[in-house]
């Protein structure tokens, strides 16, 4: 493997991680819910894409478009139905953190169990855009490049939405100061639901993208959730650009270790990085202060 191959593989993988983590950073940074079932809502759209593509002959790109409203609706409902009672009960105090972790934990098992019942424990994949493209003497599959492009587009779009629009300002206000946001007439709970839903749209999009180029199985969700968490913490909670940077960093680290040291150690590298960041920069590599 030459240097350029590693660079490209790292960038495509890292772009995906960044995209996956952006949704989580919205959910945790704004709604203050640590959604442990996040990875399951990535794998479920991947299965949906598989079914739509292999059974109904739909193009994955159409599913990608469909995933945005669907993902939003599902996570918005999860927030309204499952999490609002907890927000009320705890008064959004410190107990919310623990309670929401436990509740989404239960949800993780339910969704994962349902997928295991329907699809079993096997790996699934389908063929789409796996044509090789030559970039400066190195080859990369077209679907991998697509992932990187979508990650940059969605990340950039979301960044613009949050920094340039009124709605974005409201969301950022809630993220920075939930108690004071209320004083200027912002409906904190609705904004939280909105951010939670936006996170859902993002994770659904990443799920569809994952299905295009990686074999996936029903029990892979936890792995994605862990990686997203690592990226969120590395990038600084609620920091979208930090997310993308940290995602790329993780992608490079993984690719480097997999190609030059031992592919069996990629997860160890993940957690090693995670621990280092937690210990030395708990507010993230790119964050000023998390809260």
């Amino acid at each position: 493997m030459n240097f350029l191959d590693v660079l490209l593989a790292g960038a495509t993988l890292g772009g995906l991680y960044g995209l996956v983590a952006m949704g989580l950073t919205l959910q945790y940074g704004v709604a203050r819910i640590m959604n442990l079932s996040y990875g399951e809502f990535l794998i479920a759209p991947a299965f949906l894409t598989y079914v739509l593509v292999s059974q109904f002959g739909l193009s994955p790109l159409w599913v990608l478009v469909l995933a945005i409203p669907l993902g939003f609706a599902v996570q918005w409902l999860v927030y309204q139905l499952l999490l609002t009672p907890l927000v009320r009960r705890t008064g959004a105090g410190p107990a919310l953190e623990v309670d929401s972790i436990l509740a989404t934990f239960g949800l993780l098992f339910v969704v994962q169990g349902a997928m295991l019942v329907v699809f079993g424990g096997n790996y699934y994949s389908y063929e789409y855009l796996s044509v090789p493209i030559h970039v400066l003497g190195s080859t990369v599959a077209a679907n991998r490049l697509l992932v990187l492009v979508v990650a940059v587009l969605v990340g950039g779009g979301l960044y613009a939405l949050l920094t340039r629009t009124r709605m974005g300002t409201v969301v950022r206000a809630v993220s920075v100061a939930p108690r004071f946001a209320q004083l200027v007439g912002i409906n904190v709970r609705q904004t939280s639901a909105l951010a939670f839903g936006m996170g859902g749209a993002l994770v659904a999009v990443s799920g569809v993208l994952v299905s295009m180029f990686l074999p996936f199985s029903a029990s892979m969700g936890t792995m994605f959730a862990m990686k997203a968490l690592i990226v969120v913490i590395m990038g600084g909670v609620g920091n979208l650009m930090g997310c993308l940077m940290a995602g790329l960093l993780l992608g490079f680290a993984e690719t480097l270790v997999a190609s030059f040291v031992d592919p069996g150690l990629t997860l160890a590298v993940n957690f090693g990085l995670f621990l280092l960041v937690l210990l030395f920069r708990p507010t993230g590599l790119f964050g000023k202060a998390a809260r």
Partner: protein
Amino acid sequence: MNSPREWWAWGAGATAVLGLALLPLWLQNDYVLSLLISVLMYSVLATAWALFSGPTRYISLATVAFFGVGAYTTAVLGEVLPWAGVLAVALLLGVVMALLVGLATLRLSGVYFVIFSFGLAELTKQLVTWYEVNITKEIGRYVFVDITQQHIYWQLLGLLALVLALRALIQRTRLGLALRVIGEDETVAVHVGINTTVVKVVLFAASSAFITVTGAVMAPRWTYIDPSIAFAPVISFQTLIMALLGGPAALLGPLLGAAPLVLLFEFLSASFPNHFSILLGLVFMVIVYLVPNGLVSLLRRKGGRP
């Protein structure tokens, strides 16, 4: 031990342990014995978990990291060392690992600690897998130890008695008071001069030592282990939910949660093996929504005594 009520409590506890110890002699049923072993195992795990997490309110998902290390100690050293030696090594490993982890990370709080502890379990599993694949070239190990089911039962019972006694003693000491303050408000604890890090690390080490030894004791029951058995995340989750159901702050709370849930999970996994994960999740959610403060709090409200 001043008041007569306390003497009665210790006496009742000792009698209960003695009665339970005699049970397998009278009972000649392997299935019931293995059920009792499961109940005891989770009782020890949940009580040991609550030893640290009950008063500090840190949600740890690292249970299986220590449990698995214990199980591997038996698998690796079972034929080399006498049984007491194996347990001693497991104890030592648990304490050392907990001290390293604790000193490095117990400044983290809330969600960071949860994620970290979950990551720790995964990391340990990955490292053991990597070692087995690359160094020993075999992924599984057979556990050859001459230990009967009854011995496992008695050893678990002994561990349970020890960990309960330790919790009872801690509640009477300055350490217990310090812990309660930390659980209420860590900032206050720091301001009244409690060295919160030392307190937490000591407790974490004690809790982890019990969990590691439990893993070592349980290993002979499987005869064959590999990383996915010894480090099955479900062990952490079940321990957590049992302690929470009973009420981790109370002395007997974890026992109250462990016994019914072990039986429930046993029944569910036997009757609905394919849907077990869904049902486990639902049980989790029901407990979080309906019994947020544990069964102990419900009993207290009914009984009217604090």
